[in-house]
């Protein structure tokens, strides 16, 4: 089954990098949608079928943590798997995110890490490209 993915990051270059990285894995992706902040991300989540969210934390307008909180409070969105891809280095903040049930990938990342975390989360059973 092809996964519809939403990438939420305020950096256009980072969204493009993540998109490119997804193409390097052997996971089958359907639509890959993009949002530049949490608010735009929520709007897309409420209007499109999304199987997986890849989100940054530090963003203007609405940050990633607030977006995740709103997803968890919404019955229709609370079970969508979320992977946070961030520069966040504080173990305190990372633990707080993990308690919300999200996976965490620290920037800079490799295609192997992205593939491993998505496989682990979605259970696609696909292996790494390498």
């Amino acid at each position: 089954m092809a996964l519809n993915v939403l990438i939420v990051d305020d950096s256009g270059v980072m969204r493009a990098m993540i998109k490119k990285t997804l193409q390097m894995t052997d996971i089958e992706f359907g639509d890959v949608l993009e949002a530049k902040d949490g608010q735009q991300g929520l709007e897309i989540l409420k209007s499109q079928w999304i199987d997986l969210v890849l989100a940054d934390i530090n963003m203007p307008v609405m940050n990633g943590e607030e977006m995740i909180n709103q997803m968890k409070a919404d019955l229709a969105l609370k079970d969508i798997p979320v992977v946070v891809i961030s520069t966040e280095g504080s173990e305190t903040r990372i633990e707080r995110l993990k308690e919300k049930g999200v996976k965490f990938i620290r920037k800079p990342f490799t295609p192997e890490i992205i593939s491993e975390v998505i496989n682990d989360l979605i259970g696609t059973g696909a292996g790494n490209e390498s």
Binding site: S11, V13, A16, M17, T92, R106, K107
Partner: protein, 157 residues
């Protein structure tokens, strides 16, 4: 200032450039001094157990390669100036996010602002509120870069 901080800054910058863009940096003696007027510069402010600013300056002619590699574009000419600046800001953001926990307690919480472009004066005439600065100069295959951390807190280090 502890010289280990400079080594750490150089190491994190080197690793970031390598992982993000397959660009190899070296802090060896053959460093060609970066001419700030011929560099693109970005800055980011942070607050936490200590506060300050991190500045990343890179040779203008090295930036298209950095951007093209990050974007996975074969042709550097197709990369816009906006994408190049976005690349510089994102690289700085990643260096900052990885550096601060290493200089502090790893449970410490820092608030990192949005990176923005800066003028050479930010390095030539930094604000007097900064009591310390740590700098790492690196040679790239093509050009060079300098990363400088400015710290407000007198007691740091």
């Amino acid at each position: 200032m502890n010289p280990k901080y400079e080594e750490l800054l150089a190491e994190i910058t080197t690793q970031t450039l390598e992982k993000l863009a397959f660009i190899f940096a070296s802090s060896e003696d053959d460093f060609n001094a970066l001419i700030l007027e011929e560099a693109e510069i970005a800055k980011v402010y942070f607050k936490g157990p200590f506060s300050g600013m991190l500045v990343f300056a890179i040779s203008k002619f090295a930036l298209p390669e950095l951007a093209a590699n990050m974007l996975g574009e074969d042709d550097q000419d197709t990369v816009t100036m906006e994408q190049q600046q976005d690349t510089l800001k994102e690289t700085l953001n990643i260096i900052c996010g990885n550096l601060l926990p290493e200089l502090s307690d790893k449970t410490a919480v820092f608030d990192i602002g949005a990176p923005e472009m800066a003028e050479p004066s930010i390095l030539n005439h930094p604000d007097k509120k900064y009591h310390h600065n740590i700098s790492a100069s690196l040679s790239l295959d093509d050009g060079s870069c300098v990363v400088t951390l400015f710290i407000e807190d007198e007691a740091f280090g």
